[in-house]
Symmetry: C2
Subunit: 111 residues, 2 copies
DNA sequence: GCAATAGTTAAGTAAATGCTTCAGTGTTTG
DNA sequence: CAAACACTGAAGCATTTACTTAACTATTGC
């Protein structure tokens, strides 16, 4: 479910915005309400709610409402999925470089 | 230089687009020319060049022109920077959960 | 019950994004 | 040298994005 390309798309899209990354950063230090998330941001509460909805749709953040306050937390599984996508590509490249290096070493003294 | 927030911004922005991620994916399997990058994509070569320029500006891809062909490769250091950003936030959250778990275990038999 | 609090929703708008086409620029190849 | 090749750049356009304001709905505290 987390590796389906549509979800991955939403995640990277969500992480593309500085305000949303700041929200994720704040949440990485612990849960927060919508107003707490909004506090350091130079925009209306309404804008923050819209960002938060994107973050939730992407799976990066989970929220639950108790009374009138919505408490938000990070969903580490989603973060891990994005991390994993990048990591696989990087490793694929680096393994390729390693093989190339091996080949060069092997052929070095075959002149 | 890679951890400066502006560069990180460009990187996540670059990774947000599916076509650009597909290009990164292709490049993770080895270098490619602009036309080779364009081949699987359902858009004009010109559009691909525009995506490529973003990828290069973000630091994720490095290119060099020899004759009339521009050869592109992944810059693993940049990928690592994006990876690192996500990883730190996830770990920060998970460490917090661990401490919380420890606390609950420690307090359990103090009834 | 009536404020104040915490958030939600809708509508509008300016700017950014992701394309397209078209008219180039250098570079090889026959 | 001429034609094909591999891009490149500018202009234009439709859509999406990131906001804003304003009106509204639930809670909670006095």
């Amino acid at each position: 479910m987390l590796h389906d390309p549509a979800q991955l798309d939403l995640m990277f899209q969500a992480l593309a915005d500085p305000a949303r990354r700041q929200m994720v950063d704040r949440l990485s230090r612990g849960p927060a309400s919508v107003s707490q998330l909004a506090e350091p941001l130079a925009m209306s509460l309404s804008a923050v709610v819209q960002h938060l909805n994107l973050l939730e749709a992407s799976g990066l953040v989970r929220t639950q409402k108790v009374g009138r306050v919505r408490t938000c937390q990070i969903e580490p599984k989603a973060l891990r999925a994005a991390e994993h996508w990048i990591n696989e590509r990087r490793l694929s490249w680096e393994r390729r470089l390693d093989r190339l290096g091996d080949f060069l070493v092997e052929t070095k003294d075959e002149t």
